[in-house]
């Protein structure tokens, strides 16, 4: 049985209550940290563990913490990014709903390491029921003395707040999140300066994903070396994968990084194979933003090596033949799925969610959606496939924030790998998958 860090006790009844969580060893890392570890040694531990950001970009967490302006006499802030809204990704909700205390425990560790006296959990507005669960857990943690003034007599004090967003995907971008948390319109800021120098209320700030933070207690309890022993060379530890689509067992799985994709899709321990014994057609491996890959390239790299669920293996081959681990939203499509229709769904989403601040994303996302709508309806032309690829190419890399890239990559990759399917829509003047 593989090591579980996040889902070890997830089925324990009443895990969301303080007593149950504590009985299972919860908050031990806070005791250990506040009594015997300095903030810097926690940062060193996280750096050594090789933990990478689980929100999608995979940036090393310890390195992000090290960027914080330690000399600044302004207050430091630690923020949890719970604005999980990437289509296909539903792993953070699982933690927040069933195991909120592990998140709170991680928040205390991160805040202590960064010298933050106030921390925030910015939760997606649609997850209001999860907010209620978390707020209840925060209340319990206050009552038991793990939050508030002078935690466990250590002299360290921390206030933790949970703030719901207003329903915007863009607020998952860390600077837009900060703007929103400040009560402003959720427009991403122009970077640099990065939040580590100028963040919330213009103070040094670190924003981390829920899953990243939920890993911290285990790292402090078991040590960085134990964590780094899990996974592969560049992908340490475990990862939650939210699997959905045409598989027998959709759900949330904790895998040790480096698991072969083939095993993940076909083994009964995970997805349990494709529904009705159908043929695998394509996979979007890391949430809607990452390039789609056809069956042959998701199971094996272009070099013929087995593709693994790890940052480096999924990136093998660049965007020509590879993709990204992203947020771990694993969307599987069988041979009955229409790539164009699926892409239209994504394009509609990005058009709807673009903040409208910079021109390429504001205008380009809507344009791509309209063209895709036409092609899917059988009213497109061959020229428009190239036009679509050209629009995507010019959104990619020219925008303020990564939403533009995220809107462009699915389009470019779908045309790269499934061009014939677009052409089929145009030749037949209808979607070949509708009867």
């Amino acid at each position: 049985m593989a090591t579980k860090i996040l889902l070890e006790n997830i089925e324990a009844p009443g895990l969301a209550t303080f007593d149950c969580y504590r009985k299972l060893g919860g908050y031990a890392s806070v005791e250990k940290a506040l009594k015997s570890l300095s903030p810097d040694s926690i940062t060193q531990e996280v750096l050594k563990s090789g933990l990478r950001g689980r929100g999608g970009a995979g940036f090393p967490t310890g390195m992000k913490w090290n960027f914080i302006d330690k000399k600044s006499d302004k207050p430091h802030y630690f923020i949890c990014n719970f604005d999980e809204s990437e289509p296909g990704t539903f792993k953070d909700r699982h933690i927040g709903q069933l195991n909120p205390h592990q998140l709170i425990e991680g928040m205390i560790l991160g805040s202590y390491a960064l010298g933050a006296r106030s921390a925030y959990i910015y939760i997606r507005g649609e997850l209001f029921y999860v907010l209620n669960i978390i707020e209840k857990a925060i209340d319990e943690a206050y009552q038991k003395g793990f939050l508030g003034e002078n935690i466990m007599g250590s002299g360290y004090s921390l206030d933790l707040y949970c703030q719901p967003g207003g329903g915007a995907y863009i607020c998952g971008e860390e600077t837009a999140l900060i703007e929103s948390l400040e009560g402003k319109r959720g427009n991403p800021r122009i970077k640099p300066p990065f939040p580590a120098l100028v963040g919330l209320y213009n103070c040094p700030t670190v924003v981390n994903n829920v899953e990243t933070i939920a890993n911290l207690p285990w790292i402090i309890n078991h040590g960085a070396d134990a964590y780094a022993a899990l996974g592969t060379l560049k992908s340490k530890g475990t990862k939650l994968i939210s699997a959905c689509g045409h598989i027998n067992k959709p759900g949330i799985y904790e895998i040790e990084l480096g698991l072969p994709v083939e095993e993940f899709i076909y083994s009964d321990e995970y997805c349990g194979g494709i529904r009705n014994g159908n043929q695998l057609k394509a996979v979007v491996a890391g949430g809607s933003s990452v390039p789609i890959l056809p069956a042959e390239l998701i199971l094996k790299t272009a070099k013929g090596e087995p593709r693994l669920l790890s940052y480096e293996s999924l990136e093998e081959g660049g965007f020509q033949t590879g993709t990204m681990l992203g947020s771990g939203g694993f969307i599987v499509m069988d041979h009955t799925a229409c790539i164009v229709k699926n892409l239209l769904t994504f394009a509609r989403f990005y058009h709807h969610e673009s903040c409208g601040q910079c021109s390429p994303c504001r205008e380009g996302t809507g344009w791509m959606e309209k063209i895709l709508r036409r092609i899917e309806a059988g009213k497109g032309s061959m020229k428009e496939i190239d036009l679509l690829a050209d629009i995507a190419k010019h959104i990619d890399g020219t925008t303020i924030c990564p939403l533009g890239d995220a809107a462009a990559w699915p389009v470019s990759s779908a045309i790269r790998h499934f061009r014939s399917e677009f052409e089929e829509h145009i030749i037949q003047q209808k979607c070949p998958f509708t009867k």
Partner: protein, 315 residues
């Protein structure tokens, strides 16, 4: 403090630390200055949004000789010592600029023939230089009804490119903002929150900072094409502002009063609404003389200026 050496399109310039690439390029002047649709040096926090000023940083600094991974907005990126920037010498930059110009135009009504801004419009100039000859869109464009912003300003949202300049003027001249952005993405619109009037003595400057014909002067609308009027520098004693303006005359009639714009289309000084809207008699002004229009503008193609050969736009 020692100056930073920067190279832009192979031209070296020395600037103070904290200067943006855009302003370093403006120090050189001429063709290496990137176009700016949203950046406005007098408006705090402006820039970074339109992406027309994207440039390539081929070398980050003398110490870090790597290129920057993506094109950067020159108006919001600070120079570093030894930085090497490519603007018009980079095909990648010109290609991106062409694409941005197209993006800015796909929802623009292209109603220049009936737009008061035509002839002094930054978007017109930009498309003249970087636009495609044909349009690649067949879709409907987004449309809005024109609305009044207070007594003097008309908002035609169809033409707006969401540069946020007017919003920043509102932020800068008023304590209580009544003029922000509503909605998101390509549904975004400049709004006064239910047509609430912008009640400020300096609100007219929003018209001058608008790079397109989205905000126009209601006292001048449809009176004349700008190229049929002659600009004169003029001033008067004004208790509210410097009183230094440009009178746009047709014969002896003052059709319009605006602030004085520099060669980048930026106001030298904000002027008050009193000067702008309420003094349309030439006798109320001390006329200094004809104003020279220095911009690479469609307006300059006529008789205002003899462009020297190297400045001539392509035919």
């Amino acid at each position: 403090m020692s100056l930073y050496k920067v190279s832009i399109d192979n031209i070296e310039v020395e600037v103070e630390p904290g200067t943006t690439i855009m302003n370093a390029a403006r120090k050189i002047g001429g063709n290496v200055v990137p176009p700016a649709m949203c950046y406005y040096s007098k408006l705090e926090g402006s820039g970074g949004k339109c992406r027309t000023c994207l440039v390539k940083v081929a070398q980050t600094s003398a110490v870090d000789t790597r290129p920057m991974p993506k094109l950067v907005a020159s108006c919001r990126t600070m120079v570093q010592d030894g930085m090497v920037v490519q603007n018009i010498t980079s095909p990648e930059v010109l290609d991106a600029r062409k694409a941005i110009t197209e993006f800015l135009l796909i929802n623009h009504p292209l109603d220049c023939p009936v737009c008061d801004q035509a002839g002094e419009c930054d978007l017109q100039d930009l498309s003249y230089e970087h636009g495609l000859e044909e349009t690649r869109t067949t879709e409907d464009r987004r449309t809005f009804e024109p609305i009044d912003i207070g007594e003097y300003i008309k908002l035609n949202m169809n033409r707006c490119i969401l540069c946020y300049r007017c919003v920043m003027v509102a932020d800068q001249i008023t304590d209580k903002r009544v003029h922000g952005i509503l909605n998101r993405g390509d549904h975004s619109e400049i709004s006064t929150y239910i047509k609430q009037a912008v009640d400020n003595d300096f609100s007219g400057n929003m018209i001058d900072v608008c790079p397109v014909g989205a905000l126009t002067d209601k006292t001048f609308r449809f009176k004349s094409r700008v190229w049929f009027t002659n600009p004169f520098d003029a001033h008067r004693d004004c208790p509210h502002c410097s009183g230094k303006t440009v009178l746009w005359m047709k014969g002896k009639e003052v059709l319009r009063v605006t602030g004085r714009k520099d060669k980048y289309g930026e106001l030298e000084e904000f002027i008050c609404n009193d000067c702008r809207f309420h003094h349309k008699e030439v006798t109320e002004w001390v006329v200094e003389g004809p104003r020279k229009i220095e911009r690479h503008s469609v307006i300059s193609q006529n008789h205002y200026e003899n462009l020297s050969d190297d400045k001539k736009l392509k035919p």
